[in-house]
């Protein structure tokens, strides 16, 4: 759309856009007093326009944030730019029924009749928040089911490591393994990496750290399921495994584990 087309729109049409665009819009003066809001904001938050006009913008903010907001608002006016409100912070607006709605807000300023107006646009992000929550729960569940600790033999545990091993998962794996080891008094812990998606220096580092921890607690760590691909990568990366016992198949690892218990 070019500029000349926009100029042909009637003021009524432009005003309808302002009222109905699916984004909440608040216009305040430089003292934070609400001068107008669009219809969409009123409908979604449950207010009448007349209830909002003339109020301080803090009227829409939960009480615990109000005081801090006045300072933030004044700081913004010293250096007004187009930006997101509350970078990395969780923002909430109060609806008519008293509930707190998670929002995302953007700020901009326009000079109108020689006075500065602050334009605030609000998006309701409760659906996104709900989705994030579900995603996180699902992720946690995935982590939990993806690193089971199996008792293979008297005091021998097998931990199949499947998929990817990032820092967060490695941390959880370490905690679970050590706690379980202390509880069940596992003497040998076999880490089976048959299902490991890929190995790089960071994955190798996580694995080594885990075997180191198992050793410090007095257990024996064995890595099994070393495929030709992984063996080649480990050598090429120059990772030093020390005297760590590794084996290509799980069955050989179990044999070795049982033998090491009997030798003692």
């Amino acid at each position: 759309m070019n500029h000349s087309t926009l100029a042909t729109f009637s003021n009524d049409f432009l005003y309808s856009i302002y009222e109905q665009v699916p984004v909440g819009i608040i216009i305040t003066n430089d003292n934070g007093v609400i001068e107008d809001t669009n219809k969409f904001l009123c409908v979604t938050m449950g207010y009448e326009k007349s209830e909002l006009i003339g109020q301080n913008v803090e009227f829409l903010i939960p009480e615990r944030f109000r005081h801090a907001h006045i300072k933030l608002r004044n700081d913004y006016l010293k250096q007004p730019t187009n930006r997101k409100m509350g970078q990395n912070k969780e923002l909430y607006a109060i609806a008519k029924n008293g509930s707190e709605v998670p929002i995302q807000a953007n700020l901009t300023t326009i000079n109108e009749n020689a006075s500065l107006k602050v334009i605030i646009t609000l998006n309701d992000i409760s659906i996104k928040k709900e989705d994030d929550k579900k995603l996180k729960a699902l992720n946690n569940e995935l982590v939990e089911i993806s690193t089971p600790i199996l008792e293979a033999w008297d005091r021998i545990a097998i931990i199949p490591i499947i998929g990817t091993l990032d820092t967060e998962r490695a941390r959880l794996l370490m905690e679970n393994t050590l706690t379980q080891m202390q509880k069940e008094r596992y003497l040998v812990t076999i880490l089976d990496i048959t299902g490991l998606a890929a190995i790089d220096t960071s994955v190798a580092h996580h694995l080594l750290k885990l075997t180191e921890a198992i050793r410090l607690m007095g257990g024996l760590a064995i890595i099994t399921g070393v495929s030709p691909e992984i063996a080649k990568t480990i050598v090429r990366l120059g990772v030093n495994l020390g005297d760590l016992k590794t084996s290509s198949t799980l069955s050989r690892g179990i044999k070795y584990a049982i033998a090491s218990l009997e030798n003692n």
């Binding site: 050590l178 202390q182 008094r185 921890a213 050793r215 607690m217 007095g218 003692n264």
Partner: protein, 136 residues
């Protein structure tokens, strides 16, 4: 007052690290152990650290120095009972204690030293003596 108790069982010395390990106590810990070791000519030392919920770099140094000193005096040293939290902290501090032998618990440590509990005499429960004659 003596806080550090070094127990002797055959050629093995047992040392339990107390929960409230401070600088002064740590000093006497090393002394008490080495003294006993010289006195008893022990072959092996088992240091139990299970009372330490957490471990800091100072404690880690004390333990590893004590273990090294004992090794120099020709004893096999085994650290037992490191907790998961202590283990993770040690690794985070970058202290790998590579040269130190560890065991899960006292039993596993004895196992590593080549000892096992063997019952030599049949112990009779007081109540058993009442019922046994009837059985015969």
């Amino acid at each position: 007052m003596k806080y550090i108790q070094v127990l002797k069982l055959g050629p093995i010395l047992f040392l339990t690290i107390p929960e409230n390990l401070n600088d002064a106590l740590a000093q006497s810990l090393e002394e008490a152990l080495l003294e006993q070791q010289a006195l008893t000519k022990a072959d092996a030392i088992v240091i139990d650290i299970s009372s330490l919920e957490i471990i800091d770099s100072f404690m880690a140094r004390v333990i590893s120095e004590t273990a090294n000193a004992s090794s120099l005096m020709d004893a096999k040293v085994i650290i037992v009972g490191m907790s998961p939290v202590a283990t993770i902290t040690l690794l985070e501090l970058g202290m790998r204690m590579e040269h130190i032998e560890t065991a899960l618990d006292l039993e596993a440590a004895l196992d590593k030293l080549g000892y096992a509990l063997v019952k030599t005499k049949k112990t009779i429960h007081p109540l058993d003596s009442l019922t046994e004659p009837n059985k015969k």
